[in-house]
Symmetry: C2
Subunit: 187 residues, 2 copies
């Protein structure tokens, strides 16, 4: 039984040239020296209220392992919010909020996510995101563009996706030069 | 002698997945069915006034040949504005406003463009645009994103570019769902 009020958002941060990860997995390029005067500012309260609306995170196993690695320096990014890792591998689970789902994507969406969660965020990696687009299982793409060209790294998009119409829902520029585009994935 | 007041803008239209041309060269994907209510509208007068500020277009030979082909259906897109085609090939020149420049990019910029023009637009293709970025010969990138994922086609960016910091200068969403980002290329 699916729940029509449930929304699945693909959340991505990329360079202008569409790269979501550097080869060495470093994340310092997220912080640029740019200042965009006309941009919006986000207070800690705004950010906390926004994150509170997300009731489930979904990620692939490599993204999970990278998040675990980053958590040693910056803390676990997803709080106590239920986090589902899509993987057939036997992963080290260090937190009660994290579970592994070993089934296929369609089952995950229709039997696990839609009946239980209203606001699901898929946070990567590229393969998982492309599978959501390919099988039209996501409702929204939220892409934040960092003001940099990286040149070398993991490209989010490749030639394997089918043509897909989008509808621009929202656009925001932030003080740090980040541009956030929100698109509905038309079905 | 270079002219500091001269500005070179790389002007590009791409899908969300960074594709600037379909394999069959069709351009109908530029026109989407999207309507973004909050978007800006551009009157014909606005557009004409804006285009009037551009005093030189630069393009590669394939882009020129494609523009000639399109001109049979839609008219020549660049009016009487001086248009320089960078090519070592012997091209058919059908208009007085078009000239071919067979030298290198550095010479084109410093000896031909900067002394003569204030507002130069480089309109493609991908190789020429990447060469401008690679050699830091452009001042600005103006990238318009059409609300579509194409999947297959010619990607603007590839792994051959060096890392390049940008500064967001302007961001506009239009009524047709197009998002226009303007970045300064930091030197």
């Amino acid at each position: 039984m699916t729940n029509a009020a449930s929304k699945i958002t693909l959340h991505l941060v990329a360079s202008l040239d569409g790269i979501i990860a550097k080869k060495d997995n470093s994340v310092s390029w997220f912080e640029t020296a740019d200042i965009y005067e006309k941009g919006a500012t986000v207070t800690e309260q705004d950010a906390a209220a926004f994150l509170k609306m997300i009731d489930c995170y979904v990620m692939g196993s490599h993204t999970y392992e990278h998040a675990l690695e980053l958590s040693k320096s910056y803390g676990w990014a997803y709080g106590d919010t239920p986090t589902i890792v899509l993987s057939k591998r036997n992963l080290a689970l260090e937190r009660n909020s994290v579970e592994v789902f070993a089934g296929d994507l369609n089952t995950l969406v229709n039997e696990r996510l839609k009946p239980s969660y209203k606001n699901v965020w898929v946070v990567g990696g590229a393969e998982l995101v492309k599978n959501f687009i390919r099988h039209q299982l996501a409702d929204e793409i939220r892409l934040s563009i960092v003001p940099i060209i990286l040149g070398d790294g993991l490209h989010l998009f490749d030639q394997t996706l089918p043509e897909q119409s989008l509808r621009l829902k929202d656009l925001t520029a932030y003080k740090n030069g980040m541009v956030e585009m929100v698109y509905e994935i038309k079905k």
